[in-house]
Symmetry: C2
Subunit: 612 residues, 2 copies
């Protein structure tokens, strides 16, 4: 059996340490039950559990039955059907070229359950933007409102706001009406194909929590279906808000089906990748008809958003000629090649309204691709990049005329001093449609560490207003990410997104930092591990220096050792400050007290050894 047929699944399930899956019901609808994760703290903390955003779906719910061969429950199906504007229909037949003409032993198995696709009834438009503009608050919007709040109301005293949000308009409390309005204006996207009812609604917009995307996908060179499904589950376990399937080579269709049916988060793709496979990798053989057919194929499967490089226009291509790294976007270069070969305007641009007509039947969102994104510091912010950005702004307006949801992709490789203008130009030319950037990488000299070169840029651009950050793994520029790289990339981007939320002054975003800092200060090691983005690594690193169980309740750590500890001093300072407030007298006497107190703070070394 070839690798591609490997369907022995072994995805990671079970709760994260110290965590419990809870469901928060909307005040307005009983059937809107939003999953969250509560991290329980040690009783000595005397604190309420910390509630965190949970992207992991049923996989972390011990009560859920997980069967990859069946897919996840269709949690949104009823909401979609009850609106009465969709119909089941006999979908497009799967063709051999959908799987790169793989046959027999090379053909990956089909997903065992056949789904009949839905689409809008004739004349109908089923996008969340369409409903929002009609004033309708959908259950999906209710879901998102509950999800974004994370129980902020209960912790109203934590709402103190201090950040700098660069003109974002983040309310103290997210109402369903606020969600509706943000979607109606195009400032936010609720991305949810009617054919992916397994996904849990989430929102992308600069007035909400900053989101992250993880890329997975097999390539012509390596990887199998089970690996990709595993990576998807693994990425969402650690916090990926959406996943892009960037598969190339054979078996794209079948691989994608397994992924979508099992994904609790929206799935994005770059349809031109599959279209290219259908013409055997010869870009100039691409046609609008092949591309269109690929869009429908993927709409029916349930892809939630499409990267479409419709801004790669013939008149801009020569602007990249003097670049150090030319065109590095795969989709961008495919279209550039096509335009040059035919000396014609891109069919993505000329057929843009037809694409809108398709997308609004399924509620697939545009992720307008930046085919001219800079691939090196040298090429950042050049005219090719900005000419394309302005075009994406024009296309945004057209999509919005169809009530099709849009977000805009951004760079790439950009030195820190050139990051902010990217955000400003995007807001200006793309009418506040959400920005979705790859990094940006702030230097080119650290292959192997580009999750970090890019996290530096991502945190900044997230702070300035980017709504979703596309992760970069340590393997960027060098190879395909494996499971470990996926986790490293996701955690790195979660921390960057969170740093951005803090800096923006997102209400209540500091609750987790504060809880972890208190745990650290009070030597509640288990709480510190459990509150961290990667409890496994935190524990593992601690145990490398102080492996014994006794040390996890020890009131010291390996940095200072048992005899002296900075953190302990603070209690004395507090006592002092309290006394100082009470009376500014009797100082001499107090000094004696401190001496006494202090001597007791130091356990003799023997006692420590015995405790081990």
């Amino acid at each position: 059996m070839p690798d591609n047929a490997n369907t022995e699944f072994n995805v990671t399930t079970g709760a994260l340490p110290g965590s419990e899956k809870i469901f928060v019901r909307s005040e307005n609808r009983d059937d809107v039950r939003v999953p969250m994760r509560e991290i329980h703290l040690h009783p000595s903390a005397n604190e309420v559990p910390v509630r965190v955003y949970d992207t992991s779906g049923p996989y972390t719910d011990p009560k859920a039955k997980i069967d990859i061969y069946e897919g996840l429950p269709e949690m949104r199906k009823q909401w979609i059907l009850e609106r009465g504007d969709v119909e089941e229909y006999e979908g497009r037949e799967v063709k051999p070229e959908d799987n790169g003409n793989a046959s027999e032993k090379y053909l990956a198995p089909e997903f065992p359950v056949k789904k009949t696709p839905l689409r809008a009834k004739e004349g109908m438009n089923v996008t969340q933007m369409h409903y929002a503009r009609k004033g309708i608050i959908t259950p999906e919007m209710e879901f998102v409102a509950v999800r974004e709040n994370l129980g902020r109301k209960a912790q109203a005293e934590k709402l103190e706001r201090e950040g700098e949000s660069f003109g974002a308009n983040i309310p103290d409390y997210i109402t369903p009406e606020f969600v509706r309005e943000e979607i109606a204006t195009g400032r936010a996207v609720l991305v949810n194909n009617v054919n992916h009812p397994e996904s849990e609604p989430m929102i992308i917009g600069r007035n909400f929590l900053v989101k992250i995307n993880a890329n997975i996908g097999n390539s012509a060179v390596s990887s199998s279906i089970s690996e990709e499904v595993d990576k998807m589950v693994w990425a969402t376990r650690w916090g990926a808000d959406t996943v892009m399937d960037l598969s190339t080579g054979r078996n794209i269709h079948n691989t994608r089906e397994w992924i979508i049916r099992n994904s609790p988060v929206p799935i994005g793709t770059v349809p031109i990748y599959q279209a290219l496979e259908k013409v055997d990798g010869i870009a100039e053989d691409l046609t609008w008809e092949i591309y269109r057919d690929t869009l429908i194929e993927q709409c029916e499967q349930g892809v939630d958003y499409f990267t479409i490089h419709a801004g790669v226009r013939l008149p801009f291509i020569h602007l990249t000629a003097k670049r150090v790294t030319g065109i590095v976007s795969r989709g961008g270069s495919i279209m550039a090649k096509w335009c040059l070969a035919h000396h014609k305007e891109s069919f993505l641009y000329t057929h843009f309204e037809e694409i809108c007509e398709i997308l609004k039947k399924y509620d697939v969102a545009f992720s307008l691709g930046d085919g001219f994104r800079p691939g090196s510091i040298a090429d950042a912010n050049d005219e090719a990049q900005f000419a394309e950005l302005r075009t994406l702004g024009e296309l945004t307006k057209i999509a919005w005329e169809h009530d099709v949801q849009v977000f805009i992709e951004g760079p790439g490789h950009v030195p820190m001093n050139k990051i902010k203008v990217n955000m400003e130009e995007q807001l200006k030319h793309c009418h506040e449609a959400p920005f979705y950037t790859l990094g940006p990488l702030t230097t080119d000299i650290a292959p192997g560490y580009d999750h970090i070169t890019s996290a530096i840029g991502a945190a900044q651009i997230g702070w300035y207003g980017t709504a979703m950050l596309c992760y970069v793994t340590p393997k960027e520029h060098l190879g395909l990410p494996d499971r470990n790289d996926v986790k490293e990339g996701v955690i790195t981007y979660k921390l960057a997104a969170h740093a951005a939320d803090l800096a923006k002054g997102h209400p209540a975003s500091q609750i987790r930092d504060d809880a972890l800092s208190r745990a650290r200060y009070e030597f509640r090691w288990e709480d510190q591990f459990n509150l961290s983005l990667d409890p496994e690594r935190a524990r593992d690193f601690h145990d490398q220096t102080l492996p014994k169980e006794a040390h996890k309740v020890a009131h010291f750590c390996s940095m200072c050792g048992p005899k002296f500890c900075s953190m302990k001093i603070t209690q004395e300072v507090r006592d002092y400050a309290a006394q100082k407030e009470e009376a500014e007298t009797g100082m001499k006497q107090m000094s004696e007290e401190f001496k006494k107190l202090g001597s007791e703070l130091y356990l003799p070394a023997e006692k420590i050894d015995a405790a081990e």
Copy 2:
């Protein structure tokens, strides 16, 4: 034999891949030979080698004889002696408490070569600042000027300046006179104890390249001398500009001697750590006399800069009482405890002028410590922190009256929106003395990834003007860094410092990025590996997906595979643009040409397989 006595050294030596150690002679002095690393590129690149800053000392010089038991050659000794202002003297006797009263099998071996210390002759002042203010350009300054330029003159066309430097004054070309002036004003520090003549001069200041520091040091809990020497050599191999020895516990004196004698970079310490060991860990038993004696002990050994928490003043201590994490600086909490126990002003503050008198005899620089740095996002930028910062500014003025060099330590844990004001306040209150920050960490929720949470902050504050960034390793808050953590921390901070240099518009800083990007674009894999900060990891990651040797000359990579490659398209775009310029006619015909060209670009899959 206890661990501490392990002196079986196994430090890493030898050139980095594709690299050659060269020495650039100063135009003004024949005996100033500055080591640099040249990275040679593949002949097909037709490019000059890329010259990079080299902190690794003789260890990467294949011609150097390395003997840890002998120490490095005393490259600066002659320069120090020829000034005629120092004298050899019978140094302080090593006392049992210098090594924590370790005896017999617990006592780590002494360094085998005994050195007679130097100090300024009576009434003399041997600091670089003193010379600079007298208008003298020392060989050390000559060295630094050559070192900072990295052959910029030869690549004058690369000097195009684009950054935003926030008021820094970075010249196109560094002259010895510029170095002198920066030191004279206190804007830069050339840190070089006369008793550490093995070190290669380097400069810390915001008008120079951003530097990084790596912390090493054993603790009461673990680690041996050979491990610490290995970490020091390892850290400088990957780019540490200075190393701080933060050892605690026993054997501090002997461990430090091995480190200093073998270190090509300046060594910093926190003397209060050793002083505390001398009083058996009881902070309130510390006295000025014990501390003073420790300073002299370390001055004689050759420590180049001291972290001194002289801004932790009694009247400020109560300001930390309401913090989430109180006082987290070890030195700060030791002094706070002392002040409270005695209800007295800190002896570091009251004896500050006496400390200046000692330091100027050896040219040891102050690193004025931030004992009240915030240990959590919640505590950032509070009054305790800024009250201390203003005090450090007062103390800077006093040190400068003695011509003693000073830099200022900064936080800590700071959300992005509060970073910039740290730099601004520091510049304002500390009179442009160089800033030296730990991170800052931009969120508290990612233990195990704090090299990244902090690199985000470090890159930003470096851009704003911080002169040296103290690394944070993945083990921060969890345990002591091992060899791998040291490398991860150093590379992470090198890339952050470089991102800052790029953003500041440091002249010629983009040369390496551009060379690497061209190598990437032209599929010169070996060049791409060799130009990267971590050639080993870059190669290893590449080989995990495409291990075969043939792939390293292949004109494709694992991301797109052999059949389609973005980078290849660019050549076609260039041809197109060239033709477009020549004539805007004959377009139809050209389209045919492209079709032909394009088809040839795709090797059939069989050919690729055969090539493997």
